[in-house]
Symmetry: C2
Subunit: 245 residues, 2 copies
DNA sequence: CATTGACAGATAATCGATTATTTTTAATAG
DNA sequence: CTATTAAAAATAATCGATTATCTGTCAATG
């Protein structure tokens, strides 16, 4: 709902090159930094879904004390990426077919609704942002072999989807959509190295963006719905392949 | 998303009467207990919306140490009842007309969708639970003069709404609806002492429940939508009266 | 042989003190 | 007087140690 951090931005070297070192742009406290690192570790699959998070081990791994560790984990609970039980500790949120299907269904409901509201309420600024996000996304290739390219694409993709619905004027709705996007991205990053051959995702994005900017509500909504649905189907097949229930 | 605690149940004296004292039903850790107490304090308006939460003061008020205090606050962030900023601390989530309207809109979208899914998927157990919740709710009077009656009614009301949609088989959706219900309840408890004269809320609840159990999808959906909408309108008027923007 | 209970080790929760950051106050220059 | 800056006070974040809780093991019992 609140929290301070971005998770999808900041294109700079880890330590903020020499110069003045004025890094006061976000992720300040250790807790915040940890939240980002853990989020990335979970979404990328580095931390296995469903696995237990041992506090002592994690503390040593990340070289921090308990307090900020718990702080960071608490944020990931808000994100739905970590589960918690009193006196039993934390574990990475499990994945399942049912979970994926729910995420897809809810995205179809919420994200499409948010897009409609955006088309109803968005201003020129919103339109411009869409075109910019689209361009950046389409100019970036998703090369499975290079992880940093993949991460970059994921960040831009997320950015694009959020921008699409950013004109809706509903912070809570945007928050929910952001959560769902996060959850969905984990499935993609863990399971989907290549996109299905019969899809042209760039094309899909362009159609949605064009429709949105043109305020063609029915067209854009349907294109977005299909886009989300296809991704869901695609992912489901991959899950099935790996035998996940 | 996860977290251990109920917030709407446990009808027993604070200290779990003599006998064995086997209270292992929930709210165990200090952090959990704090989360409950703080949630109640915020929803009831005891902690003013928008006000800063001073950690030291809170620590002394609740007689706890920093760690569990932060733990508890972290949960309320998930609930959208508390906002947080790095190095700036916590504050009670503010209220506004726009926020109330968004909550109402999203409830109309999400709760109605969840009800439809429940009617599509719910079993007999689900139906029975609705009738039970309805009965309990309608047998409880909401007496504004006695706070404990009010609290009791609020708990049952929340329970009823959650039960209505509990058959949808979508944990995430239920989570979202629970959040919205929470946020909405705060507005009611803070601003709405009496319900508008031209409403018979008991009747409304009965109609929704009957329609749901009869699987009359259009009827029940519309009744629920109207119910939510009326509450929203009602609350908006009260906000306006108190001059809240 | 299955079940229960006590122990020990592992793990989580909490505390009190310390450190880092922000906010307020006060002093000074322009 | 107003704006700027430095010091002080208030507040938040973090640490290391301590306490509480849980989990698995193994022996005793029926």
């Amino acid at each position: 709902m609140s929290s301070t951090d971005d998770s999808a931005s900041a294109p700079m070297t880890d330590e903020e090159t020499a110069s003045a070192g004025f890094s006061d742009d976000g992720k300040n406290t250790i807790g915040s930094q940890l939240a980002s690192r853990l989020r990335e570790a979970i979404i990328s699959g580095e931390l296995e879904a469903g696995s237990k998070i041992n506090l002592d081990k994690a503390r040593r791994t990340f070289n921090v004390s308990l307090s900020p560790l718990r702080e960071g984990l608490a944020r990931l609970i808000s994100d739905g990426l970590v589960e918690f039980q009193d006196n039993r500790g934390y574990r990475v949120a499990p994945i399942s077919l049912a979970n994926l299907e729910e995420i897809t269904t809810l995205r179809e409901e919420l994200e499409v609704f948010a897009l409609r509201e955006s088309m109803r309420l968005g201003d020129v600024e919103w339109e411009s942002n869409i075109m910019r996000s689209l361009h950046r996304l389409n100019r970036t290739d998703r090369d499975a072999s290079r992880p940093e390219t993949l991460e970059q694409w994921e960040a831009l993709h997320r950015e694009f989807h959020l921008t699409l619905i950013s004109g809706c004027g509903k912070p809570l709705l945007l928050h929910f959509c952001g959560l769902l996007l996060n959850l969905n991205d984990r499935y993609r990053r863990v399971f989907l190295i290549r996109t299905s051959g019969d899809r042209n995702v760039g094309q899909e994005h362009s159609e949605i963006a064009q429709g949105a900017v043109a305020r063609d509500i029915e067209y854009a909504s349907e294109k977005l719905r299909q886009h989300i649905h296809r991704t869901g189907t695609n992912l489901r097949n991959h899950l099935a392949t790996k035998g996940i229930v």
